[in-house]
Protein backbone atom coordinates (compact mmCIF):
# COMPACT_ATOMS: atom_id res chain seq x y z
CA UNK A 1 0.00 0.00 0.00
CA UNK A 2 2.60 2.58 1.13
CA UNK A 3 6.21 2.31 0.12
CA UNK A 4 9.09 4.55 1.12
CA UNK A 5 12.12 4.26 -1.11
CA UNK A 6 15.45 5.62 0.10
CA UNK A 7 14.00 8.64 1.90
CA UNK A 8 16.45 11.31 2.99
CA UNK A 9 15.67 14.59 4.64
CA UNK A 10 18.09 17.37 5.40
CA UNK A 11 17.58 20.53 7.44
CA UNK A 12 19.78 23.50 8.13
CA UNK A 13 20.70 23.63 11.79
CA UNK A 14 21.11 26.80 13.86
CA UNK A 15 24.83 27.06 13.13
CA UNK A 16 24.14 26.98 9.40
CA UNK A 17 25.33 23.44 8.85
CA UNK A 18 23.19 20.85 7.12
CA UNK A 19 21.96 17.97 9.25
CA UNK A 20 20.44 14.72 8.04
CA UNK A 21 17.17 14.04 9.88
CA UNK A 22 16.28 10.98 7.81
CA UNK A 23 18.94 8.83 6.24
CA UNK A 24 17.94 6.37 3.57
CA UNK A 25 14.67 5.01 4.93
CA UNK A 26 13.28 2.02 3.04
CA UNK A 27 9.96 0.74 4.35
CA UNK A 28 6.82 -0.88 3.09
CA UNK A 29 3.47 -0.76 4.89
CA UNK A 30 0.79 -3.26 3.88
CA UNK A 31 -2.96 -3.27 4.47
CA UNK A 32 -4.49 -5.13 7.36
CA UNK A 33 -1.49 -4.50 9.57
CA UNK A 34 -0.60 -2.22 12.42
CA UNK A 35 2.89 -0.80 12.37
CA UNK A 36 4.59 0.75 15.36
CA UNK A 37 7.41 3.22 15.01
CA UNK A 38 9.44 3.79 18.11
CA UNK A 39 12.88 4.91 19.19
CA UNK A 40 14.58 7.62 21.21
CA UNK A 41 13.61 11.29 21.05
CA UNK A 42 15.03 13.05 18.02
CA UNK A 43 15.33 9.78 16.11
CA UNK A 44 13.19 11.03 13.19
CA UNK A 45 9.81 9.43 13.90
CA UNK A 46 7.62 12.52 13.62
CA UNK A 47 9.75 13.84 10.74
CA UNK A 48 9.10 10.62 8.85
CA UNK A 49 5.35 10.90 9.50
CA UNK A 50 5.35 14.49 8.28
CA UNK A 51 7.30 13.53 5.17
CA UNK A 52 4.65 10.90 4.38
CA UNK A 53 1.89 13.51 4.88
CA UNK A 54 3.79 16.04 2.75
CA UNK A 55 4.22 18.54 5.58
CA UNK A 56 8.00 18.21 5.41
CA UNK A 57 9.81 17.94 2.08
CA UNK A 58 12.23 15.09 1.77
CA UNK A 59 15.47 15.82 -0.07
CA UNK A 60 15.87 12.46 -1.77
CA UNK A 61 13.85 9.32 -2.41
CA UNK A 62 10.32 8.46 -3.46
CA UNK A 63 7.00 7.70 -1.78
CA UNK A 64 4.46 5.38 -3.43
CA UNK A 65 0.82 4.92 -2.50
CA UNK A 66 -0.75 1.91 -4.22
CA UNK A 67 1.94 2.13 -6.88
CA UNK A 68 1.49 5.86 -7.57
CA UNK A 69 4.48 8.09 -6.92
CA UNK A 70 3.08 10.73 -4.58
CA UNK A 71 6.44 12.33 -3.73
CA UNK A 72 5.58 15.62 -5.41
CA UNK A 73 1.97 15.89 -4.27
CA UNK A 74 0.87 18.59 -1.85
CA UNK A 75 -0.49 17.95 1.65
CA UNK A 76 -4.05 18.43 0.35
CA UNK A 77 -3.57 16.04 -2.55
CA UNK A 78 -2.11 13.37 -0.29
CA UNK A 79 -5.00 13.82 2.15
CA UNK A 80 -7.47 13.52 -0.71
CA UNK A 81 -5.78 10.28 -1.77
CA UNK A 82 -6.40 8.83 1.68
CA UNK A 83 -3.42 9.65 3.88
CA UNK A 84 -4.26 10.97 7.34
CA UNK A 85 -2.06 12.23 10.15
CA UNK A 86 -3.06 12.66 13.78
CA UNK A 87 -0.86 15.41 15.13
CA UNK A 88 1.29 14.90 18.20
CA UNK A 89 0.19 18.36 19.38
CA UNK A 90 -2.97 19.30 17.50
CA UNK A 91 -3.37 23.06 16.93
CA UNK A 92 -6.17 25.03 18.53
CA UNK A 93 -8.63 27.20 16.61
CA UNK A 94 -10.48 30.24 17.86
CA UNK A 95 -14.07 30.11 16.69
CA UNK A 96 -14.11 26.59 15.25
CA UNK A 97 -16.00 24.05 17.29
CA UNK A 98 -15.35 20.35 17.77
CA UNK A 99 -18.50 19.73 15.71
CA UNK A 100 -17.03 21.85 12.89
CA UNK A 101 -13.82 19.84 12.95
CA UNK A 102 -15.64 16.52 12.79
CA UNK A 103 -17.77 17.83 9.92
CA UNK A 104 -14.60 18.80 8.02
CA UNK A 105 -13.15 15.36 8.71
CA UNK A 106 -16.19 13.58 7.31
CA UNK A 107 -18.48 16.02 5.51
CA UNK A 108 -20.74 13.28 4.14
CA UNK A 109 -20.96 11.29 7.35
CA UNK A 110 -24.24 10.96 9.17
CA UNK A 111 -24.16 13.37 12.16
CA UNK A 112 -25.03 10.36 14.30
CA UNK A 113 -21.75 8.73 13.28
CA UNK A 114 -19.83 11.84 14.31
CA UNK A 115 -21.47 11.74 17.70
CA UNK A 116 -20.71 8.05 18.10
CA UNK A 117 -17.08 8.62 17.17
CA UNK A 118 -16.78 11.32 19.78
CA UNK A 119 -18.36 9.06 22.35
CA UNK A 120 -15.98 6.27 21.35
CA UNK A 121 -12.98 8.37 22.41
CA UNK A 122 -14.66 9.04 25.74
CA UNK A 123 -16.15 12.48 25.09
CA UNK A 124 -19.85 13.11 25.56
CA UNK A 125 -21.22 14.73 22.36
CA UNK A 126 -23.77 16.80 24.28
CA UNK A 127 -20.96 18.44 26.23
CA UNK A 128 -18.37 18.74 23.50
CA UNK A 129 -19.82 19.21 19.99
CA UNK A 130 -20.44 22.94 20.37
CA UNK A 131 -17.30 23.69 22.32
CA UNK A 132 -14.62 25.88 20.83
CA UNK A 133 -11.45 24.07 19.81
CA UNK A 134 -9.58 26.70 21.78
CA UNK A 135 -7.64 27.14 25.00
CA UNK A 136 -10.53 25.87 27.14
CA UNK A 137 -9.69 22.26 26.28
CA UNK A 138 -6.95 20.27 27.98
CA UNK A 139 -4.13 18.60 26.05
CA UNK A 140 -5.72 15.20 26.65
CA UNK A 141 -9.09 16.37 25.33
CA UNK A 142 -7.42 17.86 22.23
CA UNK A 143 -5.68 14.57 21.65
CA UNK A 144 -8.90 12.57 21.89
CA UNK A 145 -10.63 14.92 19.45
CA UNK A 146 -7.70 14.51 17.09
CA UNK A 147 -8.13 10.75 17.31
CA UNK A 148 -11.88 11.01 16.70
CA UNK A 149 -11.47 13.07 13.55
CA UNK A 150 -8.73 10.84 12.16
CA UNK A 151 -10.75 7.68 12.79
CA UNK A 152 -13.80 9.34 11.26
CA UNK A 153 -11.93 10.08 8.05
CA UNK A 154 -11.60 6.41 7.13
CA UNK A 155 -8.16 6.97 5.62
CA UNK A 156 -6.32 4.29 3.72
CA UNK A 157 -3.18 5.18 5.64
CA UNK A 158 -3.62 6.61 9.14
CA UNK A 159 -0.63 7.83 11.08
CA UNK A 160 -1.14 8.25 14.81
CA UNK A 161 1.62 10.35 16.34
CA UNK A 162 1.90 9.45 20.01
CA UNK A 163 -1.83 8.87 20.53
CA UNK A 164 -1.16 8.28 24.21
CA UNK A 165 0.40 11.71 24.87
CA UNK A 166 -1.52 13.52 27.62
CA UNK A 167 -4.28 10.91 27.65
CA UNK A 168 -5.31 9.18 30.87
CA UNK A 169 -4.74 5.43 31.34
CA UNK A 170 -8.42 4.52 31.01
CA UNK A 171 -8.77 6.33 27.70
CA UNK A 172 -5.55 4.83 26.32
CA UNK A 173 -7.21 1.41 26.56
CA UNK A 174 -10.19 2.74 24.60
CA UNK A 175 -7.93 4.22 21.94
CA UNK A 176 -6.02 0.96 21.62
CA UNK A 177 -9.28 -0.93 21.11
CA UNK A 178 -10.41 1.59 18.48
CA UNK A 179 -7.17 1.34 16.51
CA UNK A 180 -7.11 -2.45 16.70
CA UNK A 181 -10.77 -2.72 15.76
CA UNK A 182 -10.48 -0.31 12.86
CA UNK A 183 -7.26 -1.44 11.25
CA UNK A 184 -6.13 -4.92 12.26
CA UNK A 185 -6.93 -7.36 9.45
CA UNK A 186 -8.72 -4.59 7.55
CA UNK A 187 -7.97 -5.36 3.90
CA UNK A 188 -8.26 -1.70 2.84
CA UNK A 189 -6.36 0.14 5.53
CA UNK A 190 -3.04 0.46 7.24
CA UNK A 191 -2.21 2.16 10.53
CA UNK A 192 1.16 3.49 11.58
CA UNK A 193 1.48 4.31 15.26
CA UNK A 194 4.35 6.36 16.60
CA UNK A 195 4.60 5.50 20.25
CA UNK A 196 6.74 4.67 23.24
CA UNK A 197 3.88 3.13 25.14
CA UNK A 198 4.20 -0.38 26.54
CA UNK A 199 0.48 -1.02 26.05
CA UNK A 200 0.27 0.29 22.50
CA UNK A 201 3.34 -1.22 20.87
CA UNK A 202 2.43 -4.86 21.62
CA UNK A 203 -0.74 -4.56 19.48
CA UNK A 204 1.41 -3.80 16.42
CA UNK A 205 2.20 -6.55 13.93
CA UNK A 206 5.58 -5.02 13.30
CA UNK A 207 7.67 -2.52 15.20
CA UNK A 208 10.21 -0.34 13.46
CA UNK A 209 12.93 1.32 15.51
CA UNK A 210 14.14 4.65 14.23
CA UNK A 211 17.32 6.07 15.62
CA UNK A 212 19.43 8.92 14.26
CA UNK A 213 17.26 8.99 11.14
CA UNK A 214 17.78 5.32 10.31
CA UNK A 215 15.91 2.08 10.81
CA UNK A 216 18.03 0.23 13.35
CA UNK A 217 15.71 -2.64 14.28
CA UNK A 218 12.43 -4.15 13.21
CA UNK A 219 10.35 -7.14 14.19
CA UNK A 220 7.43 -8.18 16.34
CA UNK A 221 6.94 -6.71 19.80
CA UNK A 222 8.53 -9.78 21.36
CA UNK A 223 11.51 -9.60 19.07
CA UNK A 224 12.12 -5.90 19.37
CA UNK A 225 10.79 -4.62 22.66
CA UNK A 226 13.51 -5.93 24.99
CA UNK A 227 16.16 -4.80 22.50
CA UNK A 228 14.78 -1.26 22.51
CA UNK A 229 14.49 -1.14 26.27
CA UNK A 230 17.98 -2.52 26.87
CA UNK A 231 19.47 -0.32 24.19
CA UNK A 232 17.81 2.86 25.44
CA UNK A 233 18.67 2.08 29.06
CA UNK A 234 22.26 1.46 28.03
CA UNK A 235 22.39 4.79 26.20
CA UNK A 236 20.80 6.66 29.07
CA UNK A 237 23.31 5.12 31.46
CA UNK A 238 26.20 6.03 29.18
CA UNK A 239 24.95 9.59 28.76
CA UNK A 240 24.31 10.03 32.50
CA UNK A 241 27.74 8.67 33.24
CA UNK A 242 29.21 11.13 30.75
CA UNK A 243 27.32 14.03 32.35
CA UNK A 244 28.47 12.93 35.79
CA UNK A 245 32.11 12.76 34.72
CA UNK A 246 31.76 16.17 33.09
CA UNK A 247 30.27 17.66 36.26
CA UNK A 248 33.03 16.13 38.40
CA UNK A 249 35.65 17.56 36.02
CA UNK A 250 34.03 20.99 36.26
CA UNK A 251 33.92 20.77 40.03
Amino acid sequence: MLKLEDIWMQVESENGENREILRGINLEFNTGKLYGITGPNGGGKTSLAKVIMGIYKHTKGRIFLNGEDISHLSITERAQRGIGYGFQQPPRFKGLTIGDMLAIAAPDADPKRRRLQLRAVGLCPEDYLDRDLGPGLSGGEMKRIEMAQLLLRDCKVSIFDEPEAGVDLWTIQKLIALIEGGYKHNPDKVAIIISHNENILPICDEIIVLEDGMVTDRGTANQVWHLIRDDIECKVRTRCQGDLEYEIDQY
Binding site: T76, A79, P91, G95, D100, I104
Partner: protein, 308 residues
Amino acid sequence: MKLTNIDMNMLQAVTDLKKVPDGAVNIRLNGEAVVRSSSPNIEIRSRTDGRPGFEVEVKAGTRGEKVHVPVLVTQDAYKEKVYNTFIINEDAEVEIIAGCGIHNSCGADSQHDGIHTIIVKENARMRYVEKHYGEGSGSGKRVLNPHTEVIMEKGASAEMEMVQIEGVDDTRRTTVAHVGEKANLKIIERLLTQGQQEAESDIEIVIAGQYGNAQILSRSVAQQKSQQVFRAALIGKTACTGHVECDSIIMGQARIQSIPQLDAEDAEAVLTHEAAIGKIAGEQLIKLMSMGLTEQEAIDLIIEGFLR
Protein backbone atom coordinates in the same frame (compact mmCIF):
# COMPACT_ATOMS: atom_id res chain seq x y z
CA MET B 1 -44.23 50.23 0.14
CA LYS B 2 -42.87 47.13 -1.55
CA LEU B 3 -39.24 46.28 -0.98
CA THR B 4 -37.18 45.38 -4.07
CA ASN B 5 -34.95 42.33 -4.41
CA ILE B 6 -31.89 44.45 -3.59
CA ASP B 7 -33.64 45.76 -0.47
CA MET B 8 -34.60 42.25 0.62
CA ASN B 9 -31.10 40.87 0.00
CA MET B 10 -29.59 43.58 2.13
CA LEU B 11 -32.25 43.13 4.79
CA GLN B 12 -31.32 39.48 4.98
CA ALA B 13 -27.59 40.26 5.07
CA VAL B 14 -27.89 42.59 8.04
CA THR B 15 -30.72 40.97 10.00
CA ASP B 16 -31.00 37.38 8.68
CA LEU B 17 -34.65 38.16 7.95
CA LYS B 18 -36.27 36.79 4.79
CA LYS B 19 -39.42 38.80 5.22
CA VAL B 20 -40.65 41.78 7.18
CA PRO B 21 -41.17 40.49 10.73
CA ASP B 22 -44.22 40.88 12.92
CA GLY B 23 -44.05 42.90 16.13
CA ALA B 24 -42.04 46.04 16.70
CA VAL B 25 -40.20 46.95 13.54
CA ASN B 26 -38.85 50.03 11.78
CA ILE B 27 -37.25 49.69 8.37
CA ARG B 28 -35.63 52.85 7.13
CA LEU B 29 -35.02 52.94 3.38
CA ASN B 30 -33.25 55.91 1.78
CA GLY B 31 -34.25 58.29 4.54
CA GLU B 32 -37.82 57.14 4.93
CA ALA B 33 -39.45 54.78 7.44
CA VAL B 34 -41.04 52.44 4.90
CA VAL B 35 -42.19 49.98 7.54
CA ARG B 36 -43.03 50.99 11.09
CA SER B 37 -45.07 49.16 13.66
CA SER B 38 -45.09 49.06 17.42
CA SER B 39 -46.08 46.19 19.67
CA PRO B 40 -48.04 46.39 22.92
CA ASN B 41 -44.78 46.54 24.88
CA ILE B 42 -42.46 48.31 22.46
CA GLU B 43 -43.34 51.67 21.04
CA ILE B 44 -41.54 53.13 18.05
CA ARG B 45 -42.26 56.83 17.49
CA SER B 46 -40.91 59.80 15.58
CA ARG B 47 -38.58 62.12 17.41
CA THR B 48 -39.96 65.23 18.98
CA ASP B 49 -36.78 67.29 18.47
CA GLY B 50 -37.27 67.49 14.72
CA ARG B 51 -34.19 65.46 13.90
CA PRO B 52 -34.44 62.52 11.51
CA GLY B 53 -34.74 59.18 13.29
CA PHE B 54 -36.92 57.57 15.93
CA GLU B 55 -37.34 56.73 19.58
CA VAL B 56 -37.92 53.20 20.79
CA GLU B 57 -39.31 52.70 24.26
CA VAL B 58 -39.61 49.29 25.87
CA LYS B 59 -42.13 49.05 28.71
CA ALA B 60 -40.92 48.16 32.18
CA GLY B 61 -41.11 44.43 32.88
CA THR B 62 -41.28 43.38 29.20
CA ARG B 63 -39.96 39.86 28.70
CA GLY B 64 -38.26 38.17 25.74
CA GLU B 65 -39.31 40.56 22.96
CA LYS B 66 -37.42 41.68 19.89
CA VAL B 67 -37.37 44.90 17.97
CA HIS B 68 -35.99 45.13 14.42
CA VAL B 69 -34.65 48.50 13.27
CA PRO B 70 -32.55 47.97 10.12
CA VAL B 71 -31.44 50.77 7.82
CA LEU B 72 -31.10 50.26 4.08
CA VAL B 73 -29.43 52.69 1.70
CA THR B 74 -29.89 51.76 -1.95
CA GLN B 75 -30.09 55.15 -3.61
CA ASP B 76 -26.79 56.02 -5.25
CA ALA B 77 -24.72 58.81 -3.71
CA TYR B 78 -27.16 59.10 -0.82
CA LYS B 79 -25.91 60.57 2.46
CA GLU B 80 -27.74 60.86 5.75
CA LYS B 81 -27.29 61.38 9.46
CA VAL B 82 -29.92 59.74 11.66
CA TYR B 83 -30.59 60.00 15.39
CA ASN B 84 -32.11 57.04 17.20
CA THR B 85 -32.85 56.70 20.91
CA PHE B 86 -33.62 53.46 22.74
CA ILE B 87 -35.08 53.49 26.24
CA ILE B 88 -35.24 50.12 27.94
CA ASN B 89 -37.27 50.62 31.07
CA GLU B 90 -36.84 48.95 34.47
CA ASP B 91 -36.72 45.15 34.56
CA ALA B 92 -37.40 44.84 30.83
CA GLU B 93 -35.65 42.26 28.71
CA VAL B 94 -35.28 42.91 24.99
CA GLU B 95 -33.25 42.10 21.91
CA ILE B 96 -32.59 44.88 19.44
CA ILE B 97 -31.64 43.88 15.91
CA ALA B 98 -30.23 46.89 14.15
CA GLY B 99 -27.78 46.93 11.26
CA CYS B 100 -27.22 48.84 8.06
CA GLY B 101 -26.87 47.70 4.48
CA ILE B 102 -25.60 50.11 1.86
CA HIS B 103 -25.76 49.54 -1.89
CA ASN B 104 -23.89 51.92 -4.12
CA SER B 105 -23.46 51.46 -7.84
CA CYS B 106 -22.24 54.92 -8.87
CA GLY B 107 -19.02 56.90 -8.71
CA ALA B 108 -19.99 59.11 -5.78
CA ASP B 109 -19.93 58.08 -2.13
CA SER B 110 -22.94 56.87 -0.14
CA GLN B 111 -22.92 57.40 3.58
CA HIS B 112 -25.00 56.61 6.65
CA ASP B 113 -24.12 58.11 10.01
CA GLY B 114 -26.19 56.55 12.77
CA ILE B 115 -26.17 58.39 16.09
CA HIS B 116 -27.60 56.13 18.77
CA THR B 117 -28.38 56.76 22.39
CA ILE B 118 -29.26 53.70 24.44
CA ILE B 119 -30.50 53.95 28.00
CA VAL B 120 -30.76 50.67 29.89
CA LYS B 121 -32.61 51.38 33.10
CA GLU B 122 -32.40 49.65 36.48
CA ASN B 123 -32.18 45.86 36.26
CA ALA B 124 -33.13 45.90 32.58
CA ARG B 125 -31.43 43.50 30.17
CA MET B 126 -30.61 44.17 26.56
CA ARG B 127 -28.97 42.34 23.72
CA TYR B 128 -28.08 44.55 20.77
CA VAL B 129 -26.96 43.16 17.41
CA GLU B 130 -25.73 45.48 14.68
CA LYS B 131 -24.40 44.18 11.37
CA HIS B 132 -22.92 46.40 8.70
CA TYR B 133 -22.73 45.36 5.09
CA GLY B 134 -21.94 47.01 1.78
CA GLU B 135 -22.39 45.99 -1.84
CA GLY B 136 -22.72 47.41 -5.36
CA SER B 137 -20.45 47.82 -8.35
CA GLY B 138 -19.87 51.59 -8.18
CA SER B 139 -16.46 53.11 -7.51
CA GLY B 140 -18.03 55.46 -4.95
CA LYS B 141 -17.32 54.54 -1.37
CA ARG B 142 -19.81 52.90 0.96
CA VAL B 143 -19.34 54.71 4.23
CA LEU B 144 -20.88 53.82 7.60
CA ASN B 145 -20.14 55.84 10.71
CA PRO B 146 -22.00 54.67 13.79
CA HIS B 147 -21.80 56.69 16.99
CA THR B 148 -23.30 54.89 19.97
CA GLU B 149 -23.72 56.14 23.49
CA VAL B 150 -24.85 53.68 26.16
CA ILE B 151 -26.01 54.51 29.65
CA MET B 152 -26.32 51.57 32.01
CA GLU B 153 -28.19 52.18 35.24
CA LYS B 154 -27.90 50.19 38.47
CA GLY B 155 -28.02 46.42 37.94
CA ALA B 156 -28.57 46.74 34.19
CA SER B 157 -27.03 44.22 31.83
CA ALA B 158 -26.24 44.51 28.13
CA GLU B 159 -24.45 42.58 25.45
CA MET B 160 -23.70 44.44 22.24
CA GLU B 161 -22.49 42.60 19.19
CA MET B 162 -21.28 44.89 16.45
CA VAL B 163 -20.19 43.25 13.24
CA GLN B 164 -18.91 44.54 9.91
CA ILE B 165 -19.36 41.65 7.51
CA GLU B 166 -17.94 43.00 4.25
CA GLY B 167 -18.17 45.66 1.58
CA VAL B 168 -17.88 48.75 3.79
CA ASP B 169 -15.13 50.97 2.39
CA ASP B 170 -14.79 53.39 5.21
CA THR B 171 -16.03 53.32 8.77
CA ARG B 172 -15.45 55.44 11.84
CA ARG B 173 -17.08 53.78 14.82
CA THR B 174 -17.39 55.52 18.14
CA THR B 175 -18.87 53.83 21.18
CA VAL B 176 -19.00 55.45 24.59
CA ALA B 177 -20.59 53.86 27.62
CA HIS B 178 -21.29 54.71 31.21
CA VAL B 179 -21.66 51.71 33.51
CA GLY B 180 -23.50 52.18 36.77
CA GLU B 181 -23.54 50.27 40.05
CA LYS B 182 -23.54 46.47 39.60
CA ALA B 183 -24.24 46.96 35.90
CA ASN B 184 -22.66 44.68 33.35
CA LEU B 185 -21.72 45.60 29.78
CA LYS B 186 -20.13 43.36 27.19
CA ILE B 187 -19.17 44.74 23.80
CA ILE B 188 -18.20 42.30 21.08
CA GLU B 189 -16.84 43.78 17.87
CA ARG B 190 -16.00 41.77 14.77
CA LEU B 191 -14.57 43.42 11.74
CA LEU B 192 -13.43 42.33 8.29
CA THR B 193 -11.68 44.74 5.95
CA GLN B 194 -10.46 44.03 2.43
CA GLY B 195 -8.92 45.85 -0.53
CA GLN B 196 -8.26 49.49 0.32
CA GLN B 197 -10.91 49.66 3.04
CA GLU B 198 -10.31 51.59 6.23
CA ALA B 199 -11.88 51.00 9.61
CA GLU B 200 -11.42 52.90 12.81
CA SER B 201 -13.08 51.97 16.06
CA ASP B 202 -12.97 53.92 19.31
CA ILE B 203 -14.57 52.41 22.37
CA GLU B 204 -14.51 54.11 25.73
CA ILE B 205 -16.26 52.67 28.75
CA VAL B 206 -16.40 54.49 32.04
CA ILE B 207 -17.23 52.15 34.91
CA ALA B 208 -18.57 54.62 37.42
CA GLY B 209 -20.73 52.46 39.68
CA GLN B 210 -19.42 50.18 42.41
CA TYR B 211 -19.04 46.56 41.34
CA GLY B 212 -19.75 47.44 37.74
CA ASN B 213 -18.24 45.22 35.08
CA ALA B 214 -17.31 45.81 31.45
CA GLN B 215 -15.73 43.67 28.76
CA ILE B 216 -14.58 44.63 25.30
CA LEU B 217 -13.86 41.71 22.99
CA SER B 218 -12.64 42.58 19.54
CA ARG B 219 -11.75 40.23 16.72
CA SER B 220 -10.74 41.52 13.35
CA VAL B 221 -9.25 40.40 10.08
CA ALA B 222 -7.48 42.85 7.76
CA GLN B 223 -6.78 41.58 4.25
CA GLN B 224 -4.97 42.95 1.18
CA LYS B 225 -4.14 46.66 1.68
CA SER B 226 -6.84 47.48 4.19
CA GLN B 227 -6.18 49.38 7.38
CA GLN B 228 -7.65 49.17 10.86
CA VAL B 229 -7.21 51.21 13.98
CA PHE B 230 -8.75 49.94 17.19
CA ARG B 231 -8.73 51.91 20.42
CA ALA B 232 -10.36 50.50 23.51
CA ALA B 233 -10.29 52.37 26.78
CA LEU B 234 -11.61 51.19 30.13
CA ILE B 235 -11.82 53.73 32.91
CA GLY B 236 -12.48 52.33 36.37
CA LYS B 237 -13.64 55.05 38.74
CA THR B 238 -14.49 52.80 41.66
CA ALA B 239 -14.35 49.17 42.83
CA CYS B 240 -15.07 47.41 39.54
CA THR B 241 -13.79 44.88 37.03
CA GLY B 242 -13.02 45.26 33.35
CA HIS B 243 -11.28 43.40 30.57
CA VAL B 244 -10.21 44.30 27.04
CA GLU B 245 -9.27 41.63 24.52
CA CYS B 246 -8.21 42.56 21.01
CA ASP B 247 -7.29 39.75 18.66
CA SER B 248 -6.47 40.36 15.00
CA ILE B 249 -5.38 38.41 11.96
CA ILE B 250 -3.32 40.40 9.51
CA MET B 251 -2.86 39.34 5.90
CA GLY B 252 -1.28 40.63 2.69
CA GLN B 253 -0.10 44.22 3.00
CA ALA B 254 -2.69 45.24 5.55
CA ARG B 255 -2.01 47.33 8.62
CA ILE B 256 -3.57 47.05 12.05
CA GLN B 257 -3.07 49.26 15.06
CA SER B 258 -4.49 48.00 18.33
CA ILE B 259 -4.40 50.36 21.27
CA PRO B 260 -5.91 49.10 24.51
CA GLN B 261 -5.96 51.59 27.39
CA LEU B 262 -6.67 51.02 31.05
CA ASP B 263 -7.23 53.82 33.50
CA ALA B 264 -7.84 52.89 37.14
CA GLU B 265 -8.89 55.71 39.42
CA ASP B 266 -9.54 53.50 42.42
CA ALA B 267 -7.34 50.94 44.17
CA GLU B 268 -10.21 48.43 44.04
CA ALA B 269 -10.54 48.62 40.26
CA VAL B 270 -9.29 45.47 38.56
CA LEU B 271 -8.70 46.09 34.87
CA THR B 272 -6.91 43.79 32.45
CA HIS B 273 -6.14 43.67 28.75
CA GLU B 274 -4.78 41.30 26.13
CA ALA B 275 -3.90 42.25 22.59
CA ALA B 276 -2.53 40.14 19.78
CA ILE B 277 -1.97 40.72 16.08
CA GLY B 278 -0.60 37.98 13.89
CA LYS B 279 -0.94 36.13 10.65
CA ILE B 280 -2.82 32.84 10.41
CA ALA B 281 -0.79 30.20 12.22
CA GLY B 282 0.96 27.87 9.79
CA GLU B 283 0.11 24.85 11.91
CA GLN B 284 -3.61 25.63 11.62
CA LEU B 285 -3.36 25.75 7.83
CA ILE B 286 -1.37 22.52 7.73
CA LYS B 287 -3.85 20.80 10.01
CA LEU B 288 -6.81 21.67 7.78
CA MET B 289 -4.88 20.85 4.59
CA SER B 290 -4.00 17.46 6.07
CA MET B 291 -7.76 16.90 6.27
CA GLY B 292 -8.13 17.50 2.53
CA LEU B 293 -8.84 21.24 2.33
CA THR B 294 -6.96 23.42 -0.13
CA GLU B 295 -4.90 26.26 1.29
CA GLN B 296 -7.54 28.83 0.28
CA GLU B 297 -10.36 26.75 1.76
CA ALA B 298 -8.38 26.46 4.97
CA ILE B 299 -7.78 30.24 5.11
CA ASP B 300 -11.47 30.97 4.48
CA LEU B 301 -12.54 28.55 7.18
CA ILE B 302 -10.13 29.91 9.76
CA ILE B 303 -11.30 33.48 9.09
CA GLU B 304 -14.97 32.49 9.15
CA GLY B 305 -14.50 30.76 12.49
CA PHE B 306 -12.42 33.58 13.92
CA LEU B 307 -15.07 36.17 13.08
CA ARG B 308 -18.03 34.00 14.03
